[in-house]
């Protein structure tokens, strides 16, 4: 016999983790974008990739509570790995994607030990430095990475041996969307598992969490490694669908913008990255048309206002939608 408390807790957890109607609508809308807006495939492809990348940061920041300013490190390594794999004969996109992401996950695992301890500042500095270091490496070995010219000759084969990447980005978008959906479902399963809940506990209070017998460091290592896999998958998608990799994938701006994207969308409920990526793309496009060279000024202004006015108050309209996605919780 289960006591009433446990049963109630089970029911509450099940309610939180149940698939909400708004979620189904969200993915149907994404599917609709694929079929109804073929002309915007290139743009949507970018949005989906950025969204997956931001989802990865959400795992680290929203769930693990680690402030990372160098998340582009994993994105970039994934992109270079996927690009290089096509040049040495691994042309099947899915195989390349998985291999590149696994390789980057190893890097994520190794660097996770650097962010386990210390203050937020230590973590910011370490993550930032790892990204800068990797960019220096990519810059210094042009024989492999193409250096400042970028990696040329990235030529992935057809997806599943059937769909060739086309210049309009149709296949690219479909491929990115499918990969992102699958990874999203896995991430969703993961964060609502007991393991996922224990990671949230770590974020709330490390001391108490370790007191009830959850190994804090191990939880953070796992979530950081998984996040590295996800970021690398996003990078690999970019490399494969655009067939080009440049040093830009490792830039500081990428990590910084990513944080903005995630914060616009909201942390800690998985959809924030995807929604933030979509909003950011529209804002970026509007700003870039208005002031081509100086659009980052307005991005900066948005960041400052977000903090000054408060995230909750400024994202008034989307917030109501977010609440529905989050459910009653």
């Amino acid at each position: 016999m289960k006591s009433g408390n446990i049963a109630a807790a089970e029911a509450a957890l099940r309610r939180v983790s149940a698939v909400k109607p708004a979620e189904i609508v969200f993915w149907l809308a994404a599917l609709a974008a694929f079929f109804l807006l073929p002309g915007e495939a290139l743009l949507f492809n970018e949005v989906v990739i950025t969204g997956l990348f931001a989802l990865s940061l959400d795992l680290v920041l929203g769930y693990g509570g680690i402030v990372s300013l160098g998340h582009a490190a994993f994105f970039g390594v994934g992109a270079y790995a996927a690009g290089l794999l096509t040049t040495i004969g691994v042309t099947d996109p899915l195989t390349g994607l998985i291999l590149a992401s696994l390789a980057t996950a190893v890097l994520g695992f190794l660097t996770s030990f650097l962010v386990l301890r210390g203050s937020d500042l230590t973590r910011i500095m370490v993550t930032l430095s790892v990204a800068v270091l990797l960019k220096e490496v990519a810059n210094r070995i042009p024989s492999i990475t193409g250096g400042a010219d970028g990696l040329q000759g990235v030529a992935p084969g057809p997806v599943m041996g059937v769909w060739e990447f086309d210049i309009f980005g149709q296949v690219g978008f479909g491929y990115s969307l499918a990969v992102t959906f699958v990874l999203f479902v896995i991430a969703r399963r993961f964060v609502f598992s007991p393991f996922g809940w224990s990671i949230r506990a770590v974020k709330e209070n490390q001391l108490r969490t370790s007191a009830i017998g959850i190994p804090v460091s191990r939880r953070l290592v796992v979530v950081y490694t998984i996040a590295a896999f996800y970021a690398a998958a996003a990078g690999a998608l970019l490399a494969q669908t655009t067939q080009f990799v440049s040093l830009d994938v490792l830039e500081f701006h990428r990590s910084a913008n990513l944080m903005l994207i995630l914060v616009i969308g909201g942390t800690g409920y998985l959809y924030g990255g995807l929604i933030g990526a979509l909003l950011f793309k529209f804002v970026q496009d509007a700003l870039a048309t208005a002031t081509p060279q100086y659009w980052e000024f307005w991005v900066g202004l948005i960041l400052v206002s977000l903090v000054m006015i408060g995230r909750e108050r400024i994202v008034g309209l989307p917030a109501s939608i977010l609440r529905r996605l989050r459910g009653a919780a």
Binding site: S119, I124, V263, F297, V299, M308
Partner: protein
Amino acid sequence: MATNLFDGLAYGMLLFVMAAGLSVTLGLMNLINLAHGAFAMAGGYITVILVNRLGVPFFAALPMSFIGAAVIGLGLERTLYVHVYRKSHLEQVLFSIGLVFMAMTAVSYLAGSEQQFIKLPAFLASRFDVLGVSIGAYRLLIIVVCGVLAAALQFVVARTRFGAQLRAAVDDPTVARGLGINVDLVFAATFAVGSGLAGLGGALGAEILGLDPTFPVKYMVYFLIVVAVGGSAGMTGPLLAAVLLGMADVAGKYYLPQFGAFIIYVLMIVVLLWRPQGLFVRAGR
């Protein structure tokens, strides 16, 4: 060898003057301010405009770069930073990155994105030999100016009434307020002086570090290293850290050019691994 050490010393002293303000706001007040480099950049550009466009003598422009950056710092502290002190670290990061983006684009809009060079007085370009060591006059000037500033800072923080108030306000703002210390004023003054010093450092360092709109991001990690490695027990720690960093960077780039900046980052990661907590905790707390 000795020349490299000398250049490294000059470079390190510059880093110290630029990061001194940050070692108080970040090291003591625990405000993650990634935009500190923007104040250094402001000082650099103020000097460029004064010297190159308006023909102000270099030595007259240096104090102006201090005042200019201090005024900007004070304005931002009173209007924006004051609301950020108590926010979460994530929000401080977002806020200061936003400021960096704005500063970078504003500068490239106003002055162009190319690298700027300050027209220095001719005698500063000379070199002379002392005991077989080739010494650049400009670097000697930097060492002297920054050395005097470092001594003055140490004196102010450790010996003056204001320094005592600052240390009290940082240790426990509530109790400090109870004792009648105007904590807001102390913080504002500290922030302004720190920004001013960054500006002066930016003006002095434009020649050595290069000055373009990406400056705040390029040297962000360096400033953070000075604060992190130097600790927060006084001005001596950051000074030592800055000098070591400067020498290591110059020596690294000279002797192992293929590794260049790697050494600094690897060193920093090692130091942070070695003392992940201790570096930011003040002795006796």
